[in-house]
């Protein structure tokens, strides 16, 4: 059989070319990685919206309304101008329209009016309509966009999802005459016209069907990278062709400086690839560890009760929440809204889909029982001060280096646990005083097959 190498040479495929290919691909690789810095958050949103798309059969109607009435955009614009001048008349028309829409649910006209309601509802919600000035706008408490700080009040989308199935009367009752607690206090002196509320309901229904607006990717790092690339190109051209700058060292220094900064960027991004330190996603329920583990001093193991027996610490089953929340139906800050989600989940037999934060690659076999039960580690050592967090954040980077650092310094329960009696030599050494402690790595804790198999 012929060898392959001469064939390769003939075609001009040399190792050099291959290295070139490789380096180029690294560039492209890292560049695209920058584009992806807005990691999990946006994906979650798109996942949410996808779910909404699937679940709602009405959204085809919404899409249709977009395409059918092309002129509706113009109409809304003119009408919003009219809003400021003629309120009373508008209220009537809206009211009538809504009524007629009910009795006559077809045709382009209906869609365009419906869209007007939505638009008006949104403006109302955001507090952009003048009559709202005396009261705070809905949006001042209820987020429309996902925020980086914890807002205890349900977001617009949350409310929308909850009330899409319910009729206007119910919605109105909740807004105007809340049944108690925090909400009654905040919503105390609300006086909204039904017409306004109807537009708000229309807006919220629409929001629920559409799902959240996709977050645009942040590309600052990529732009910076490309800009630096331009500078490099200029510096190279300057050095070789233009030669306009008197001191040749200047473009060289610029080139080296910029290039090394680019290398640094690539390195940083490459290291960060696949890690998510600081990951702090929004959860389906605004559950605060600070309230539960911090203020109410509930032990971690009360909810994460398999931590001593299993690989997985376990997300508590929903019925465990009800141990307390069958009585505690209202939070001091969140009101009834968030707790109601737990009760609804149990009633409807639909488990809560939490977003997983601490996530190891599939080829790593980590056991909570090993670390918490056998190793007597405190939860804080890896998870940080969860009792201080309203929204849980991944504190450590969970990299292999981080694992190994700990395995090199952490002491095992060598004397207390009878399991380690098998290690006779080490016991003798302790007796003789040759060593004062046994760390994990001394009994093979840094070997590959302790975690990878």
């Amino acid at each position: 059989m012929k060898l392959k190498s001469p064939v390769l040479r003939k075609s001009g495929f040399s190792p050099k070319v291959f290295l070139l290919t490789l380096s180029m691909s690294i560039f492209v690789f890292s560049a695209t990685a920058f584009a992806g810095t807005q990691t999990q958050q946006s994906e979650q949103d798109s996942a949410n919206s996808a779910a909404v798309e699937q679940s709602s059969p009405t959204d085809t109607a919404t899409i249709q309304s977009d395409s059918v009435s092309a002129n509706s955009v113009n109409e809304t614009e003119t009408e919003t101008q009219a809003d400021t001048t003629d309120q009373a008349a508008k209220e009537d028309t809206v009211f009538n329209d809504a009524a007629s829409a009910k009795s006559e649910p077809a045709g382009e006209e209906r869609f365009s009016h419906y869209r007007n309601d939505i638009k008006r509802g949104e403006r109302f919600f955001r507090g952009l309509l003048p009559q709202n000035n005396k009261q705070e706008s809905c949006a001042s408490c209820h987020n429309i966009l996902p925020s980086d700080t914890l807002n205890w009040n349900p977001s617009a989308l949350d409310i929308a999802n909850k009330y899409i199935e319910k009729d206007f009367a119910e919605f109105k009752a909740v807004v105007m005459e809340p049944s108690g607690g925090k909400m009654a206090e905040v919503h105390k002196d609300y006086s909204f016209a039904d017409a306004d509320l109807k537009t708000v309901k229309a807006y919220l229904d629409d929001l629920s069907m559409r799902g959240p607006a996709p977050v645009k990717p942040t590309i600052d790092r990529l732009l910076l990278f490309l800009f630096l690339g331009l500078i490099i190109t200029w510096a190279l051209l300057e050095m070789i062709f233009f030669r306009k700058i008197k001191y040749k060292a200047i473009p060289l220094i610029i080139f080296l400086g910029v290039f090394s900064y680019q290398v640094k960027m690539i390195y940083e991004e490459a290291v960060r690839l696949g890690r998510s330190q600081g990951y702090e996603p929004e959860q389906p329920i605004k559950f605060s560890h600070k309230v539960h583990a911090g203020q109410n001093q509930i032990d971690c193991k009360y909810c994460h009760f398999t931590v001593e027996q299993s690989k997985s610490a376990g997300i508590p089953p929903t019925d465990l929440c009800l141990n307390c929340h069958s009585l505690v139906r209202e939070g001091t800050r969140s009101g009834k809204f968030e707790i109601a989600k737990v009760i609804e989940a149990t009633d409807n037999n639909i488990p809560v889909e939490w977003v997983r934060i601490h996530n190891l690659p599939d080829h790593v076999f980590f056991s909570h029982a090993q670390h918490v039960n056998a190793g007597k580690l405190d939860c804080i050592e890896c998870h940080g001060e969860v009792a201080e967090m309203d929204v849980v954040r991944q504190v450590e980077d969970l990299s292999m280096g981080w694992c190994l650092d700990c395995h090199r310094t952490k002491e095992v329960q060598f004397v207390d646990n009878n399991f380690y009696e098998s290690y006779e030599v080490l016991h003798q050494q302790i007796k003789k005083g040759e060593i004062d402690k046994v760390t994990v790595d001394m009994i093979g804790g840094t070997e590959c097959m302790k975690c990878h198999y």
Binding site: F13, T306, T318, D319, H363, A369, E447, H452
Partner: protein, 991 residues
């Protein structure tokens, strides 16, 4: 001259050529190799651009692979005792109409992933076989029926029930005949359900149809003991076992049970100084025959003659006058003398499905006083109850239109009935045909209604394997598809819509609870369900005393037999595919046959002498009568005039991955005197042009001519326990190193394999594949020697190629303490742990395969492709076992990494199990017990040939095995210091 070991006939010829320094007659290239060569063209600029584009694109894709958002979805209400991330074990029962096994099912996070033996069972005693181990994949089979259908169209259960019941009512009014055709039913509750159906439809009948029939035994016992039954055999009590074509270690009746019993009597450890002796007569080379101390070749048609002569000799020895019978093809005088010296301590069995043969066997066993000692007539083995003539009668009745309705339960006669065409055409005369299969199969294509049954892991069931030895099966997963227990269907059609769980409980409460001694039925039920087994200790009664009358007639018939001299065809079942029920299981198809090492096909085994005579060679296509073409395999040890073909192959449209594997030999079966004969007395063969490539793992990994399997005879062993292993002392004396031998603090894991116990049944191979997510690579890749099994069973022939002895040796990673592989890895992906394990870090491996090259045992496996969908690059995938489909992937063990393309893998000593048990001990604040860590291979082994443990612990079983004088290491002269030891094979023969 020293006797020569060889792995195949090619080896022998090769060695001969080497000796005579004759130039090789020509390099035999594989078809695939040639194909590749013709394809190879030079790399061009285009290729470079393609490569370049691919690199850029893949880098871009890889970089844009953001971490997906992972959801953590808890239980709404946590079931008691289910801990996420921890496995639970449920006792259950495997019975597929042929094989029985009491099992434990490992369930992780709601899905069954592994089957282990149930050590509480008195029948299988914790053993399993390859087919039981592999059966779990049947649960996740894309070919399963997913909902009830009517003539191929999907319907609802209600609709099916309504229409079927409407028809049954009409038939009932006419008093028409409805037949339930099933495989042997060992479940008492199912039998009760069938009885209910029969009672509700007078004139109907239940017929049991066995693919691998024991009608011969049933009828012979009916004649001698007045009842048709298969007795309970006890091989552990037999000091002398004489087998006639009965593959009792592989496929005959209850192989797991027999292997346990057989191996128990073959062990020479713990001070045991005696072992059983096994003499075997057969035509083809079977698993059991290859384990015998002495093996004699006879043609299937000569079996009766040999038995008659043996009987004659025995009665002569008893002082009675002998009969005049034409002389036996072999001398049985010595055997008769030996047998008469072991009265009550011997066992003669025959695999022939022939009444006269079995009558002779009964007569011999009666003469030897074996009834009550090694054969128990008061305990019946219930695994075979079908009478062949019933099935033949049914087909006749169907042809004449007497049968109005036919319910097929767990049978596939369109494939495995010898006259399948006749059956299928007779089906046309039946007005209502219902099939209740699990898997899509040949027969369901010819029926009106398919009412799919649960897989056995999804439903409730019970079993009475032997007289009053019960076991229970329980669901381990919610039914994946819209299936319903067949019993529920029958009960519903009988007008008793009850769920089968309630029905079984009721049956047990009414029939079995009474004698148990427990006070509450719930306690009784829960305890039995937990254990999986229940024995009430009752015995059969009403068995008549032995009646010799029928034997005379049999002898008279033998007198008229004249041993023909024509070619004969023997039909057998092999340990992997068996009867063909699991023929679409890729784990079983890729399992090399323990004798021929061929996988993915059946073939015609011919003797070397016959091959020479007829100028046949391996892979040459032939036709046997009208059957074939089928490739030839020259099999050392095959009887001169016998050709063997395996049954169970050739199933249509079973797709792994596409189409049919092998040839269906069932149509060759002929019936004589109402029993299916597994041999054809006169066949002609005809050469067909062309060759067909067989995938053999045989000549791969050959360890040329070295002292690998060490063996001795019992006589020599008793004189010197180290006999056969003398070379070890010499090697030990030379073991000097400049380096200090490494000490292992804590644990030093080791494994020992008793070559005397190992039968080569391959259960460990499948168990290892299931436990460690070992991929199936497909026939084409096996031909290229790329099979992935972490444990293989080498077998070597010894002596005369026409009648060789055979020895076997399981080989897995030897976990050398001075490992040649570790030194050559450029990226330190394989290193030694401080517990003596040769570790493999897949994520570090860059695929240089230096380790593979440097391993003297050739146990490292390289992933030439991505077989399990672990890779992010789609082009790397090769998927012969559908392992990239979501359904199939449910079987993967979440505790073991699924390897991607381009990495080396090998036996890890089941490190995940070691870690698991260490943690259990830590959490319970105690030291690890000996025998607590059980690797998958040891767990599965029905012969208890594998022992695993801590070498640092002087009290452990493994330390005792390593201290045994029989212990040696493979290629120990290389000073690799393996952690795997072998105990020499001791044969109980007088040579």
């Amino acid at each position: 001259m020293k006797e020569q070991y060889y792995k195949s006939l090619d080896d022998l010829i090769y060695d001969a050529r080497q000796a005579s320094s004759e130039p090789d007659a020509g390099d035999r290239k594989s078809i695939l190799q040639m194909k590749q060569e013709s394809k190879s063209t030079g790399n061009s600029r285009r290729d470079f651009l393609k490569l370049f584009g691919f690199t850029v694109a893949s880098a871009a894709i890889a970089a844009s692979c953001q971490q997906p958002v992972q959801k953590a979805i808890p239980f709404l209400i946590r079931p008691e005792k289910i801990i996420p991330g921890e496995a639970s074990y449920f006792a259950s029962t495997y019975f597929d109409g042929i094989d029985y096994c009491s099992i434990l099912v490992k369930v992780r996070d709601g899905r069954p992933i592994k089957i282990e033996g149930n050590s509480l069972s008195s029948v299988t005693m914790g053993g399993t076989n390859a087919r039981t181990q592999a059966s779990i994949l049947g649960l996740y089979d894309n070919k399963r029926h997913k909902n009830p259908t009517y003539e191929g169209k999907k319907i609802s259960w209600e609709e099916a029930d309504d229409k079927i019941m409407l028809f049954l009512d009409e038939v009932k009014k006419r008093q028409g005949k409805v037949v339930i055709l099933s495989s042997t039913i060992i479940s008492p509750s199912t039998k009760a359900a069938i009885r209910e159906f029969l009672d509700a439809h007078p004139g109907s009948e239940h017929i049991q149809y066995d693919v691998l029939s024991a009608s011969g035994i049933l009828k012979a016992n009916e004649k001698t003991f007045g009842q048709a039954f298969v007795p309970a055999y006890d091989f552990s009590k037999a000091e002398l076992i004489v087998g006639f074509d009965a593959d009792f270690l592989g496929t005959w009746l209850s192989p797991v049970e027999y292997t346990k019993q057989y191996a128990k009597n073959r062990k020479l450890v713990d001070g045991e100084r005696s072992m059983s002796r096994h003499i075997h007569f057969e035509g083809g080379m079977s698993l059991t025959g290859s384990n015998a101390d002495e093996r004699y070749q006879i043609r299937p048609s000569q079996e009766k003659l040999v038995l008659a002569n043996l009987y004659n000799e025995l009665i002569t020895l008893n002082g009675q006058s002998g009969l005049s019978i034409s002389s036996s093809p072999g001398d049985v005088k010595q055997l008769a003398a030996e047998l008469s010296g072991k009265k009550g301590k011997s066992l003669v069995v025959s695999g022939a499905n022939d009444v006269e043969t079995q009558l002779l066997v009964n007569a011999i066993n009666e003469l030897l006083g074996n009834y009550g000692a090694t054969i128990h007539t008061d305990r019946h083995l219930k695994l075979r109850q079908g009478m062949d003539e019933d099935m033949d009668r049914l087909v006749r009745e169907m042809e004449s239109g007497q049968v109005e309705g036919l319910v097929l339960y767990d049978v596939n006669p369109a494939f495995d009935y010898p006259e399948a065409d006749k059956f299928v055409s007779a089906l046309k005369n039946v007005k209502l045909k219902i099939a209740m299969p699990i898997l899509g199969e040949e027969t369901s294509e010819h029926v009106h209604y398919v009412c799919p049954d649960h897989h056995y892991l999804e439903g409730w069931n019970d079993a009475e394997v032997k007289t009053c030895v019960y076991s229970l099966a329980q669901p381990t997963i919610r039914p994946i598809f819209k299936t319903r227990a067949a019993q529920e269907s029958l009960l519903k059609w009988a007008g008793n819509p009850v769920d089968y769980h309630t029905y079984i409980r009721k049956y047990w409460e009414d029939n079995l609870f009474a004698g148990s001694g427990e006070t509450s039925f719930d306690d009784f039920w829960n305890n039995k369900l937990h254990d999986g087994i229940y024995e009430s200790g009752q015995r059969e009664d009403g068995i008549q005393a032995y009646d010799a009358g029928a034997v005379e007639a049999a002898l008279a018939q033998v007198k008229s037999t004249s041993g023909g001299d024509s070619l004969e065809l023997a039909l057998y079942t092999n340990v992997s595919v068996g009867s063909g029920k699991q023929a679409n299981n890729p784990w079983l198809q890729e399992l090399p046959d323990p004798v021929t090492k061929v996988c993915w096909d059946n073939y015609a085994a011919v003797s070397p002498k016959l091959a020479e005579e007829l100028e046949l060679e391996d892979e040459q296509l032939i036709k046997i009568n009208d059957f074939g073409p089928i490739p030839v395999l020259v099999q050392p040890g095959q009887e001169y005039k016998t050709i063997s073909v395996a049954l169970g192959y050739g199933r249509l449209n079973m797709g792994i991955p596409d189409g049919t594997v092998g040839q269906n030999a069932f149509p060759l079966i002929q019936s004589t005197n109402g029993t299916k004969q597994n041999h054809l007395p006169q066949v002609t063969i005809e050469k067909v042009d062309g060759a067909y490539q067989l995938a053999r793992t045989q000549s791969h990994h050959s360890m040329e001519g070295r002292n690998l399997v060490r063996e001795t005879t019992l006589e020599q062993y008793l004189a010197n326990p180290a006999s056969g292993n003398e070379v070890r002392e010499t090697i030990k004396a030379h073991m000097k190193s400049l380096y200090a031998q490494r000490k292992f603090e804590g644990f030093h894991w080791g494994m020992a394999i008793d070559l005397n116990s190992c039968t080569g049944c391959n259960a460990c191979v499948v168990a290892c594949s299931v436990e460690n997510n070992v991929p199936v690579v497909g026939k084409e890749q096996v031909i290229k020697a790329r099979e992935m099994h972490w444990i293989r069973i080498d077998r070597y022939y010894k002596g005369d190629p026409d009648n060789p002895e055979l020895v076997r040796q399981p080989v897995m990673c030897q976990h050398c303490d001075n490992a040649p592989c570790e030194n050559v890895c450029p990226v330190a992906a394989t290193t030694h742990s401080n517990e003596g394990i040769n570790q493999m870090a897949y994520n570090r491996c860059i695929g240089t395969r230096y380790c593979n090259n440097n391993c003297p045992y050739k146990v490292r496996r390289f992933n030439f492709f991505d077989y399990t969908g672990a890779d992010s690059m789609p082009g790397n995938t090769k998927d012969p076992a559908e392992m990239t489909t979501d359904l199939r992937r449910l079987v993967l063990n979440p505790d073991v990494t699924v390897r991607a393309k381009g990495v080396i893998e090998k036996c890890s000593f089941c490190v995940q199990r070691i870690q698991e048990k260490k943690l259990v001990a830590k959490n319970e604040n105690r030291t690890l017990n000996d025998g607590e860590v059980v690797p998958a291979c040891e767990q599965a082994c029905p012969a208890d040939a594998i022992v695993f443990g801590d070498l640092n612990n002087e009290e452990s079983r493994i330390s005792k095995f390593f201290a045994d004088e029989r212990n040696y290491h493979l290629l120990e002269e290389l000073h690799t210091l393996p952690s795997v030891g072998y105990l020499t094979k001791v044969k109980n023969k007088t040579i």
